[in-house]
């Protein structure tokens, strides 16, 4: 599609990409560089208000996300902000929706922003997108194909989107708009990009299923069993690798794969790689620059086995 406004965007990595999802951060930046897409990291960004704050006071969560949006719009002059993490993406979209439709949220954000001494974010100043939108609509499959230096041919991929990328539907008004738009029930942007890079996508009916991330600490056994079920479904579908686009889902799949073997004695072989790592490989970027060695799941062995590294 090649939207010109996606060629240079404000980049909101979020907390996870500085920690467990560091490889996602590296690979997102490496793929952007390989494709000529520019990222300007949001200055002095803060937590989006993910889980903890939301449970205490939803208005504070809306404020925290709005501060990130305010810096990008009012201090950096950006028109588009890109968040690769599903949690961050979801919360920025939710804040946008709250500010557009809820007077109480507007009042709270106005009040806290004034107290914090920065400009108040107004709904509509920015467009929030995910890393998938950024590449799909910033470059598109045809242009991506032209820039490939290799191919993912021979690699069978189960695309796992998790449950926050498309839910709740009402905060993603740009989705479900027919051909070319993303679907909230059967998301396909990752499938499209990886297919363009030569991968064989398998039919994977748990692509938007819960990974148990929300209760990974309070009820670890249920989380482990949910993840184990996702891993088994991917293997049953014939996948070599599960492609991910969320650091929380990704680390959940990796950690609970290890835990399933230790605690339940259930071993699975499927590997996990971020979609940006897979695209990077096809674009000729080295696995090290993509942070493949940082993954818990041994993606490097799989890539070598398939002749991709």
């Amino acid at each position: 599609m090649n939207k010109p406004e996606y060629q240079r965007v404000a980049y909101y990595p979020g907390c996870a990409l500085e920690g467990t999802g560091h490889a996602y951060n590296r690979s997102t930046q490496a793929v952007g560089a390989a494709l000529g897409l520019k990222l300007d990291e949001v200055k002095n960004w803060n937590c989006c208000g993910a889980m903890e704050v939301k449970n205490i006071d939803p208005a504070v969560q809306t404020y925290l996300s709005s501060r990130v949006l305010s810096i990008a719009a009012n201090e950096m002059g950006a028109k588009v902000v890109m968040a690769p993490c599903n949690g961050c993406y979801h919360n920025l979209k939710k804040a946008e929706h709250e500010l557009a439709h809820d007077a109480g949220s507007r009042e709270a954000v106005e009040r806290i922003s004034k107290k914090a001494g920065h400009a108040t974010y107004r709904a509509g100043q920015l467009e929030t997108i995910h890393a998938l939108d950024w590449i799909k609509d910033g470059i598109g499959e045809e242009e991506l194909k032209r820039r490939l230096k290799g191919s993912l041919k021979g690699l069978k991929v189960a695309n796992y989107y998790g449950c926050m990328y498309t839910r709740p539907r009402h905060i993603f008004p740009e989705k479900d708009r027919g051909p070319g738009s993303e679907s909230t029930s059967q998301p396909h942007f990752m499938d499209d990009l990886l297919a363009a890079a030569g991968a064989e996508n398998v039919e994977f009916p748990l692509k938007t299923a819960c990974c148990g991330g929300a209760h990974t600490l309070s009820d670890s056994d249920t989380s482990t069993r949910l993840v184990l079920n996702i891993l088994r479904a991917a293997e049953t579908a014939g996948a070599d690798v599960i492609a991910t686009e969320c650091p929380t889902c990704h680390s959940g799949l990796e950690m609970h794969q290890v835990r399933a073997e230790k605690v339940l004695g259930e071993k699975t072989q499927v590997r996990m790689l971020y979609f940006t790592q897979l695209l990077g490989i096809a674009l000729g970027v080295s696995p090290r620059r993509l942070g493949v060695h940082e993954n818990v799941s041994d993606g490097l062995a799989l890539l070598r086995e398939k002749g991709l590294a």
């Binding site: 449950c163 839910r167 709740p168 029930s185 059967q186 009916p205 748990l206 692509k207 938007t208 299923a209 819960c210 148990g212 929300a214 209760h215 309070s218 009820d219 249920t222 989380s223 069993r225 949910l226 079920n229 996702i230 088994r232 479904a233 049953t236 579908a237 259930e266």
Partner: protein, 121 residues
Amino acid sequence: MRESLLAQAESALEEWLRARSETPTGERVEGFRLLALHRQGARGVPSFNACRETCREIAYHYNLLADPRERTERREKMMALLVEHLRLFVRGKLEVEGLGEFCCASRPLRNESETKGIAHG
């Protein structure tokens, strides 16, 4: 096989509803009681929609398995994994909502999975 798996999926949602002191509906949505039960279970609990697509995939696999050409071991196993996922999801939700082991209705879900033999075979 598909009838039994669909019944287990419905049973998981019935347990969720009973734990919340609701009477499970006998209605159908798009020909499936499962989808009607999901709709009922998500009323007032938006996060329960995280299993909406799993329910729809169960219905889809149920339909596929009616076709002899699609009735493969892999397809049956996938439907069993979907049902298992729904059961685990509901189990987690019961725990989060404080309905877990405190509620008699949830005990079958907290115990060993009935689909284990099929899904893990």
